[in-house]
Amino acid sequence: MSNWIEIAALEDIPKLGSRVVRTDTMNVAVFRTRDDQVFAIKDACPHKQGPLSQGIVSGTTVTCPLHNWKIDLASGEALGPDEGCTNTFSTRIEDGKIFLSL
């Protein structure tokens, strides 16, 4: 069951940047890559719940600001030696607007 919610215009997120979407139950980090792909993952690092939205984005990974774990934006999985996974959510872009499905 999908339930798309419009959250922002694409330009509201800087390239290689992110915004925090606050829902009733959690924070979702929405990222924009250099080539305008948009990814949404739970804003909590699998390591110690660091706010991934605050990390540096390159390609399709984000580096957690607290202890530098690298998380793949598409799968939510930690890369490299670290193991762990955070939730991912679907997004789609229509007419320059970002929609999120929770």
Partner: protein, 812 residues
């Protein structure tokens, strides 16, 4: 349907078994863990550093509750299992939970042995085993003064050291005439005792405890010879007893420990046991290395691979008292026919002894210099015939080769199968392999890839040396060149030069020119490139917020809970009632949970929500404050002392000069953080000689010091020169900063930079070459035009608003 596995005992051996099992088959079992303690699994060995105040309980948690949840493991803490019904295959807990199992893993550890003398159950008498014991000791150290530790073994000495660090007056009572008699011979034990005595520890040797005195709470300890000593706290560290009551009650065969075979199964094949509660081939172990080996074997069988066998372990010991190096392994008291090699240098506090039988090492004891312990232990376990190098063996392994290069060569000389991390059984070869294949550069990386040095930590130095020698070898292959990061082959110096000489003015231009492997670069090169471009092209290059670490993007320090801290600048540490009132008002208005005076002479406001930052900055900026850049690779603070205005020793106006320096330099971005200080006389109350740039005022002028660092590795400044006027101080300072800004590598502080390029090189440029100094100073002042724009005010007025505003949606 999945089989059910129950683990009783949420400690180091049990949980390590689960980790090994999950590596082999993540989904084979539905796992439930029962632990008597209220905590998730923690590193018990690190209780000693926790007691000594070197670590916190949070630091030593090995598996957080999230870890259990992520792996689908149900964890019940604070609820011991009280009985096992093997016929019905279920366990019952204290709170009355009942649960079935298909397989059961016992890892109940052991209990400290409490000598059953009269009074042993008095208040204030305890063992040293778990977090609760440490909490009790820490609480006692606040209210009481005198502690007695019974037992001069490893655990007792670590407990005594910790209590002493907490300000207690500590006496160690030992039954034998030498300390740690199971690990040390008399000479080594005496060196140890002398050095502990020097730290203030007291000893009562050959004293047999007869009674604990006191009514209600302990007041003293009485000995067999009738003498006694006062005590408000008694820690018994005389040994451990495998915790076997539960197994015994369930009818599982036990002797001293729960008896297991080579596959770690008890007499009931559905029931496995690992850890200190176990007796294997007649031996019980009390160190983690063998327990971790057992864990591997048990996991292998639980995963139904059925190939591993545990055949017992040889153990070695190190003492975790900071500043004392001690190593022992094997049989070190010689028997008839054994030979002994000894090296003694009492002056240097070094003692090494090897016991040989037929030219094979049987035991080793080392004190003071333990670097070769690993090598001896390896020769011992391999049963190597050492007759070929017997004459030089005590001088260590480096003496075998062409000698003389210290630790690095000694490490390089170790064979690939030399064990480095005893706790986790990691050999040098595995570490080197991981470093080379995975391109590791830091200790943390090595820890996460190999587990080496992640348990008791005493091999950290060895791992660091391996890292140095391995990365060093790669270094030799391509002379003078270490790539900036995985995205490029080029070094920092090449990139810095390339940016300048080829007029590369944005990040894509740099990455194209140097053929970067990733279009976006990575979290390590992007901040560096952003800095290099900013430093080289002030006013032209447009700062890229997305290439800055969050602290610099949000202009505050991110905290572990995702909030931020705010440190307003206080020029030279001076303040007025108005300033303090304004800060107090802001703190109240925004409900700041904690404030603190920093080591940099200003005030830190902690726990600010990101979305509140701009409004808070608006108020601060209204009151005249600008950002303190406490979060940046930037000019931080100018620390000053009272100076001539007030101090009876002051020779110059150090506060005034500090303010001028801060006014000149605030806002400038740097390769790393940069700190200044001005002291009014050579008493140096502002600690100017551990700053990046320090001024010490003297009657005839100002001494200028550079390249100090007070952080991880302390470096005292070099005296660059003496000047006569404040104007010169400003000029020399600006020029020095600019030289550093233009040439140092990103994340290189002035101390390592000065050491890398050489003090003379810097001095030559700043002091001897007037035209270079003036040119540098001009470039610095030019850059400051663009840098001295308060980022807080700008954001309070709406710049980068998206950074601070969340998108709110309601699921409804």
């Amino acid at each position: 349907m999945k089989q059910k596995l129950i683990l009783i005992g949420n400690g180091m051996a049990g949980v390590r078994t689960l980790e090994e099992l999950l590596k082999l088959t993540p989904d084979a079992y539905e796992i439930t863990v029962f632990g008597a303690e209220p905590h998730p699994n923690y590193n018990r060995m690190m209780l000693s550093p926790v007691l000594a105040g070197e670590k916190t309980v949070d630091d030593i948690i090995l598996n957080s509750r999230e870890w259990y949840a992520e792996h689908g493991i149900t964890l019940h803490t604070g609820d011991p299992v009280v009985s096992i019904d093997r016929a019905a295959r279920k366990v019952v807990t204290q709170t009355g939970l009942e649960l079935d199992y298909d397989r059961l893993l016992l890892a109940t550890g052991s209990n400290p042995f409490i000598i059953p003398v009269p009074g042993h159950d008095k208040n204030g008498v305890l063992g040293f085993r778990d977090i609760a014991d440490v909490d009790t000791m820490l609480a006692a150290s606040k209210d009481y003064k005198k502690a007695v530790v019974i037992g001069g073994g490893l655990l007792g000495l670590e407990a005594a050291n910790g209590l002493m660090k907490n300000g207690m007056d500590v006496t160690v009572v030992h039954l034998m005439d030498i300390l740690m008699e199971r690990q040390l011979d008399a000479p080594a034990a005496n060196l140890l005792k002398a050095s502990l005595e020097e730290r203030g520890m007291k000893f009562l040797m050959e004293a047999q405890t007869a009674e604990i005195l006191g009514d209600g709470r302990v007041q003293g300890v009485k000995f067999a010879d009738g003498s006694s000593v006062g005590a408000d706290l008694v820690v018994m560290a005389v040994g451990i007893r495998p915790s076997i009551e539960l197994a015994q009650q369930a009818g599982i065969h036990c002797e001293r420990g729960i008896v297991v075979n080579d596959t770690m199964q008890t007499y009931d094949p559905r029931v496995y046991a690992v850890g200190e509660c176990v007796q294997h081939r007649g031996s019980c172990y009390g160190l983690v290395a063998p327990l971790f080996e057992q864990a591997k074997v048990a996991a292998n069988h639980l995963a139904q691979l059925g190939i591993a066998r545990y055949e017992g372990s040889v153990t070695s010991t190190k003492l975790k008292v900071t500043g004392i190096d001690l190593f022992s392994a094997g049989e070190f008291n010689q028997e008839d026919g054994d030979e002994v090699l000894v090296l003694q240098d009492p002056g240097a506090g070094v003692y090494k002894k090897l016991v040989l039988r037929d030219n094979v090492i049987k035991g080793a004891v080392m004190y003071g210099d333990t670097l070769d312990g690993t090598w001896y232990f390896q020769l011992l376990r391999d049963g190597t015939d050492i007759s070929g190098f017997r004459g030089s063996i005590l001088f260590g392994q480096h003496d075998l080769g062409d000698a003389g290069h210290g630790d690095a060569t000694r490490i390089a000389a170790l064979g690939d199968d030399a064990e480095i991390c005893g706790c986790n059984g990691v050999c040098k070869g595995e570490i080197v392999d991981a470093i080379v294949k995975k391109g590791l550069f830091t200790l943390e990386d090595v820890r996460s890839h190999t587990k080496a040095s992640s348990s008791c930590g005493s091999c950290t130095g060895l791992v660091e040396s391996i890292l140095a020698s391995t990365v060093g070898e790669g270094y030799d292959a391509t002379p003078n060149k270490k790539p900036m990061c995985g995205c490029t082959e080029h070094s920092h110096d090449e990139v810095i030069r390339g940016i300048r000489e080829n007029e590369l003015k944005d990040m894509d231009a740099v990455r194209n020119f140097f053929e970067w492997k990733n279009a976006d670069g990575c979290a390590s090169c992007r901040p560096a490139l952003n800095y290099y471009l900013l430093a080289q092209w002030p006013g032209e290059y447009l700062d890229d917020a997305q290439s800055r670490f969050i602290n610099e993007r949000a202009h505050g320090n991110i905290q572990k809970d995702g909030t931020y801290s705010v440190v307003p600048r206080m020029f030279g540490g001076l303040c007025t009632p108005h300033d303090l009132r304004a800060i107090a008002d802001v703190a109240e208005k925004f409900d700041v949970p904690e404030m603190k005076v920093t080591g940099g002479q200003r005030i830190d406001l902690f726990g600010i929500k990101k979305e509140d930052l701009p409004a808070m900055w608006a108020d601060l900026s209204e009151a005249g404050f600008v950002s303190g850049h406490a979060y940046g690779k930037a000019m931080r603070t100018v620390k000053t002392c009272a100076g001539k205005t007030w101090c009876r020793f002051g020779t110059q106006n150090s506060t005034g000069l500090g303010v001028k320096l801060e006014e000149l330099t605030w806002g400038s971005w740097m390769p790393h953080k940069f700190k200044l200080a001005v002291s009014g006389c050579p008493r140096n109350c502002a600690e100017a000689t551990i700053k990046d740039f320090g001024v010490v005022c003297v009657d005839s002028g100002y001494e200028l010091h550079i390249g100090g660092n007070g952080g991880i590795k302390v470096r005292v400044t070099d005296l660059m020169c003496k000047v006569a006027s404040e104007e010169e101080v400003l000029e020399y300072c600006g020029a020095f900063i600019q030289k550093y800004r233009e040439e140092a590598h990103y994340l290189e502080r002035t101390a390592p930079w000065v050491e890398r390029v050489g003090f003379d090189y810097v001095k030559q440029a700043i002091v001897d070459d007037e035209s270079q100094r003036k040119a540098l100073y001009d470039r610095f002042k030019f850059g400051q035009q663009f840098a001295q724009i308060d980022p807080w005010k700008a954001r309070a007025e709406g710049e980068a608003a998206h950074e601070f505003r969340n998108i709110e949606i309601s699921a409804a």
